[in-house]
Symmetry: C2
Subunit: 191 residues, 2 copies
DNA sequence: CAATTAGGAGTGAACGTTCACTCCTAATCA
DNA sequence: TGATTAGGAGTGAACGTTCACTCCTAATTG
């Protein structure tokens, strides 16, 4: 196994276990077993469990961004960009359940709150692309004039909730319905 | 202290600690200390920690329902009922931060998934009032013809996300903006 | 063969849970 | 009515278990 393969296995194993059992029930011993490495090996790649947990979040964010920015054209109309990004987020997560559950649990837990507070002033690709989109939208008066974070919430709230319901088996999602959900979110924020 | 006062103190302490530190960092010792009871006392009221955690969720749900059903008139038009319930949920949670954070963490964690699966076939006041509302809406063709759980998601997704952003200090919410958020959700689901 | 990396038994701390005991209240008795 | 006893809620030290993390040996690499 190549060096970075081991790191990847640890990340994958941790993500899967926390997605399935939660932060409170994913001990290092279980992570090591699922990753097929020794417990000590984990500490060669990560200073401690908290660092591991935080880094996984960053990795998921990166992969998600890479996916939704594929084919994204910032010169297109606001509505088209909105649909592209919304569909991108939703389709990525329902194709990657473990990443989704991990992402959500992290985001809602005190980890997520602390993380976002530290990041408040940082510029991130993640924030920028959505910020620019919504700013364009309000400037062109095609989007309601609401606080930026509220527009965020009106997109991500439904997306995450629908993804969760789908993954729990409470609502069937296909490409057609994904499109419908995002269009419906657009109906909410459009002027 | 009357008998049930102790139970209430335990519930309150657990809720606050889990809201602030998460499931993984709210040990029984800390709960007992904050509730001003002995550790053993907790086990006179709850069989074990898992039972305690699940019962608190039920209690929050009850209190929330009691709040939003106050003044609810099921004979009024769909839009008016929708606004009443939406505003009720959002205003309850931003006035009760610990309950909100607890509710969210529970809901998104594996606890929540297991809980909802067990409950699938049960009838609950909670489900009924929203189900009837959305059924009326689609029957009267004032609401989009979408799966019930998707209509749920299009209301609760934004509400919870906005509440979270507000409680983390990322968006200021007043009665005026609460009304705006719910109206905006209505724009999403209305035909 | 030296240097680096991996492994997993070992470690002390912290965990949920228990249990022998202490009050305090209220029923019973003289 | 005052004295005695019974009952049960409350307690926190103690228990066995599990945890995150360390450290020394073994394996691998160049």
């Amino acid at each position: 196994m190549a060096k970075s393969e081991k790191r990847d296995e640890i990340v994958r194993a941790t993500m899967e276990l926390i997605a399935e059992f939660g932060f409170h029930d994913a001990p290092i011993a279980a992570i090591a077993a699922r990753a097929n490495v020794g417990a000590g090996t984990i500490y060669r790649y990560f200073a401690n469990k908290d660092v591991l947990i935080n880094e996984i979040y960053l990795e998921i964010e990166e992969r998600l961004m890479a996916h939704i920015l594929e084919g994204y054209r910032s010169e297109r109309p606001v509505r088209e960009r909105f649909l592209h990004l919304g569909v991108g987020v939703l389709s990525y997560f329902i194709r990657n359940p473990a990443e989704f559950h991990y992402f959500e649990q992290f985001h809602i837990s005190p980890y997520g709150g602390a993380f976002r507070r530290e990041r408040l002033l940082e510029r991130t690709e993640y924030r920028d692309v959505f910020m620019v989109l919504f700013q364009d939208g309000t400037a062109q008066q095609v989007v309601k004039n609401l606080p930026l974070m509220m527009l965020f919430s009106l997109l991500f709230g439904p997306l995450f909730t629908v993804a969760r319901e789908h993954l729990l088996g409470f609502v069937p999602l296909d490409d057609q319905l994904i499109e419908t959900v995002v269009t419906t979110c657009w109906d909410a924020i459009r002027q």
